[in-house]
């Protein structure tokens, strides 16, 4: 299961979780509050800093006049006179520049990479689909971001260096049009490249994974109806089933089973299966691979974990695990443990799950983590039991009998919960049998409780680990959504690059945008480090040896990180204050910069999960807010600088 984060909820993401909210800890803020704060910073603090800088040169009254005029003319002049045609002219120029400066080499690199992909990809992997999809998505992402970075960071500095900007800004062009035009131009180049790469990737993946098998004639076994004992076999025996093996192609072979009508499927190997058909002439036709390019659209439930005393808990921590995954312990022999993971699924109605569409029952998939405290029988999975319960507290005890299962780490177990369940207590359907819809569903809700049965073994559970799988979404659509997130990243990188290039020289702007990406990507790690430095020894995850300046001095002077610095105390205090300032800035920056991990969706596609609609919505909103804020900032930077230096 790829999903190593909680199931996103758009409104909680946007507005924040009211219970955890703490004004001093921006991690608990929703995106909306964060965005408002960033905009306030932009609108109030940025002009104030401009004012301070300008007053050094011109004195306060002149400086106030400058800043006020810049702000005033932004609204009265630049906004109403904004011209799409001029913006598009600049954008076109950026596109022509990119093309004629042979930026499309990046695309060539990509095609070359795919041509030789066969040489380095692990074709023997038991999930080649994931390997192929990860490779194309990651390489696309990397190349497009690098291209956006280089194009955008060098654009305006090059214009200033070649002084071509003289002939542009002496035309009635607004700074806003230059900034936006540049961004739009580079984004267009990036979009075109992304579209090409996407199409090439899609065909590369589907062509590479496409293969066929033959049937090994020697292995085919036909099974006929046995004649009743003591009677001679009739001339025309009834064919029950055919089984056999396919040829060994592409590092794998399948076994298959056909029904009496001569149609059937192979087993699933390397994440796919084939249709097999026997023709009237007795030949076998093996169809193309199926089931590997999918986008599962799970129906998730809410998870509550109970400890062995039946209390709600976060689960047992067995070591280096993600915060959101907890473990439940298996029972002690002879003692019924209360430790269980209970998922509550809503929306279980006959309309959503009509029995004629799901004739055998509710489709359920589980991929539990397994933690063994002793080796046990390593060939066998860890045993668990699943109980389907009615969530209504008044219908206490209305539950199915335990359904036993074996869980192996990383293996997805697909099963069907039948509509009629065995139970000690009877229900509507009569004694000893429960009707799932009538007896166990309460107001559209149903509970699935999972226990670990093997003593002293553990199951790791997280909310997305168990889900109903009513149907699949379109793989192509999912692939497109993944490209949309790459596109949004590209757009943000371009906007940041252009913003930095409005006041920095090319290489410095490149470095700055790269730092912004790295800081955005590793925001939470960096934040932990800064807090560790700021709070020193007391905090969890404390960083010893101080901030950058202090640790540099310690390295030079070969000081132990645990002892006091061997310099005079005033100097040491000054260094600590400077370091503290740097750490605070870094800490603030991790919140201001976009969190690029939010845009990482390659795992979803590679593992065959549909990208959440909520995640797409979050990405779009984040993209829009950052794009707007960065563009406006870039506009003010360009407007208030002298282009002739």
């Amino acid at each position: 299961m790829a999903l190593e984060r909680g199931i996103p909820d758009f409104w909680i993401w946007l507005l924040g979780n009211a219970e955890r909210f703490n004004i001093l800890n921006p991690t608990t803020w929703g995106f909306l509050l964060g965005a408002v704060v960033i905009c306030l910073l932009l609108l109030v603090i940025a002009p104030f800093i401009c004012f301070l800088v300008a007053s050094l040169q011109y004195g306060p009254s002149e400086a106030f006049y400058y800043v006020a005029r810049a702000l005033f003319s932004a609204v009265t002049e630049d906004l109403p006179r904004f011209s799409p045609r001029r913006t598009w002219a600049i954008a076109r120029l950026a596109i022509q520049e990119a093309i004629r400066n042979r930026v499309l080499v990046g695309f060539g690199v990509f095609v070359l990479l795919l041509l030789f992909a066969g040489l380095f990809l692990d074709v023997n992997n038991n999930n080649p689909t994931r390997v192929y999809l990860s490779v194309v998505l990651w390489s696309t992402n990397l190349l497009v971001i690098l291209m956006a970075l280089f194009l955008s960071a060098f654009s305006i500095p090059n214009d200033i260096k070649n002084r071509t900007i003289y002939t542009v800004v002496t035309k009635p062009v607004r700074a806003s049009e230059i900034v936006l035009g540049r961004i739009v131009g580079f984004a267009t180049v990036g979009t075109a490249m992304l579209v090409f790469m996407g199409v090439v990737s899609y065909f590369f993946v589907s062509r590479s994974l496409d293969h066929g098998h033959q049937v090994e004639a020697d292995t085919v076994k036909e099974e006929y109806e046995k004649a009743p004992e003591g009677q001679p076999a009739p001339a025309q025996r009834k064919l029950l089933r055919i089984s056999g093996e396919t040829t060994f192609d592409r590092h794998h072979r399948h076994t298959f089973e056909l029904g009496p009508d001569g149609k059937g499927k192979t087993n699933v190997v390397q994440g796919h299966w084939h249709e097999v058909q026997r023709t009237a002439e007795g030949k076998y036709i093996v169809g193309p691979p199926q089931g590997h390019l999918i986008a599962k659209a799970p129906h998730y439930g809410k998870l509550v974990i109970y400890d062995r005393d039946g209390k709600v808990t976060k689960g047992i921590n067995v070591g280096n695990e993600w915060e959101y995954r907890g473990y439940i312990a298996g029972g002690t022999p002879g003692v019924q443990t209360k430790a269980a993971a209970v998922w509550t699924f809503s929306g279980i109605t006959p309309e959503n799950y009509p029995p004629d569409k799901y004739p055998s029952g509710l489709p359920l998939e589980l991929t539990l983590r397994v933690f063994r405290s002793f080796k046990g029988q390593i060939e066998r999975g860890v045993l668990g039991e699943m109980v389907i319960r009615n969530p209504n507290p008044e219908a206490r005890g209305l539950a199915s009998g335990p359904i036993l299962f074996e869980s192996k780490e990383f293996v997805t177990d697909s099963r069907t919960i039948p509509w009629k369940l065995n139970s000690e207590r009877g229900g509507e359907a009569g004694r000893g049998e429960l009707d799932l819809m009538k007896d166990l569903v309460h107001e559209g809700q149903i509970e699935v409780a999972i226990r670990c049965v093997d003593p002293a073994q553990y199951f790791g559970v997280a909310e997305p680990d168990v889900y109903l799988r009513p149907g699949d979404a379109s793989f192509e659509m999912n692939f497109f959504k993944s490209y949309l997130s790459i596109w949004l990243q590209m757009l943000l990188v371009t906007a940041f690059g252009v913003m930095f290039s409005t006041f920095l020289s090319g290489p410095v702007a490149l470095l700055a945008s790269l730092s912004a990406i790295v800081l955005g990507f590793f925001g939470s790690d960096v934040r932990a480090v800064t807090l560790g430095v700021l709070y020193g020894g007391e905090a969890q995850g404390a960083q010893y040896g101080g901030g950058p300046i202090e640790s540099f001095i310690r390295i030079i002077m070969q000081n132990n990180v645990m002892t006091e610095m061997e310099i005079n105390s005033i100097l040491s205090t000054i260094i600590k204050v400077l370091d503290g300032g740097l750490m605070c800035t870094l800490y603030a920056a991790t919140y201001v910069l976009p969190d690029y991990t939010q845009f990482d969706t390659a795992g979803f596609v590679a593992d065959g999960y549909n990208i959440f609609g909520a995640l797409v919505a979050e990405q779009l909103l984040m993209g829009l807010v950052y794009f707007t804020a960065v563009t406006i900032t870039a506009y003010f930077f360009l407007k208030t600088r002298e282009v002739a230096a």
Binding site: L56, Q57, S73, E77, D78, R81, S83, R85, R86, W88, A89, R92, L93, Q96, E97, R100, N101, N162, R163, T164, I165, Y166, T167, V168, V169, T170, K171, P172, V173, R174, E642, V643, A644
Partner: protein, 308 residues
């Protein structure tokens, strides 16, 4: 360059004293280094008025502040002190650019575009419609004589050709005010002549032209008024013909006179009678004037125009 735009000299509007196009008041520019320390005072308290319909020349040796003045007037630089007004607006305002054409020192154009694309691009920046852009592009390429090279990328252009396309882009919007930074640099004598003719022709169409140059003959030929800058200071300002006239000297030239006749003429002149062939003030060449000013300025730093 063809001469299709020529108009009879009679149509030439007289420079009017009231119509001030460019005005600088106490305009000062100090370049600072990264730490805010003063590096160089490129322009010091410049007061200028340029009126509608005149050709104004900014003259000075390299590094005298000519380009700085033009960049300040275009809003490419922000003044350290004083004001630069173009069409009565602050030079940093973008709207003034609607009526301005600018030919930079070297034509800073996008080398990967060809002539047509270049003019089309700058036309778009003036928000011109497609037909207008097409018409202007054709007219201007014809005017600067680059029809034969209109589809070649500018990176293949010679310096003279780049100059011409640079001029064409400066005129794309049919501007009222044209700022030419070193318009004749890099041009051969024929190109120089054509450029000067064109400048005069533009003036005859009623446009105001501000040009900077250190090539004195060019300035002498075309400019109505000049300002001489040296080390950021305005040293001389006035009409070219007045500046070049030595006011306190009269020159009389005649032919075929005997000694006696000469004597007599002296007498006649003394009595304000007789036929004079020529009585005039000797003129300096601009070169002499320029060198005088530079020499004088170096000898007596701090002297400004109008204080003798």
């Amino acid at each position: 360059m063809t001469t299709q735009l020529e108009q009879p000299p009679a149509a030439r509007p007289v420079p009017s004293a009231s119509d001030v196009i460019i005005e600088t008041r106490n305009l000062t520019k100090v370049y600072r280094d990264f730490w805010g320390r003063q590096k160089v005072r490129a322009l010091n308290a410049l007061d200028l008025q340029i009126r509608r319909g005149e050709i104004f020349g900014l003259l000075g040796p390299n590094g005298s502040g000519k380009s700085t003045t033009i960049k300040l007037l275009l809003g490419l630089l922000f003044p350290t002190g004083g004001q630069a007004l173009v069409f009565g607006k602050e030079a940093t305002e973008v709207t003034k650019n609607e009526r301005i054409g600018y030919l930079p020192e070297e034509s800073y154009l996008y080398k990967f575009l060809n002539a047509e694309e270049t003019l089309d691009f700058y036309g778009r920046l003036f928000d011109m419609s497609a037909e207008v852009r097409k018409r202007r592009t054709d007219e201007l390429i014809e005017m600067v004589g680059l029809n034969w090279a209109r589809r070649r990328q500018l990176r293949e252009y010679s310096k003279g050709m780049t100059r011409r396309i640079g001029l064409a882009q400066a005129l794309i919007n049919n501007p009222d005010l044209i700022l030419l930074d070193e318009p004749t640099s890099g041009l051969d004598p024929i190109g120089t002549r054509e450029m000067k003719d064109l400048i005069l022709k533009l003036r005859d169409q009623g446009k105001t032209i501000l040009m900077s140059s250190h090539l004195l003959p060019d300035v002498q030929d075309v400019c109505d008024r000049i300002a001489i800058l040296h080390q950021g200071e305005l040293k001389e300002l006035g009409r070219v013909d007045e500046l070049l006239t030595v006011q306190d000297v009269t020159q009389v030239r005649a032919r075929g006179l005997s000694k006696a006749a000469e004597e007599e003429i002296r007498a006649v002149i003394a009595r304000h009678q007789g036929e004079l062939l020529a009585v005039e003030n000797p003129t300096l060449s601009l070169e002499e004037l320029f060198l005088n000013i530079v020499r004088d300025s170096e000898a007596r730093p701090g002297r400004r125009a109008g204080q003798n």
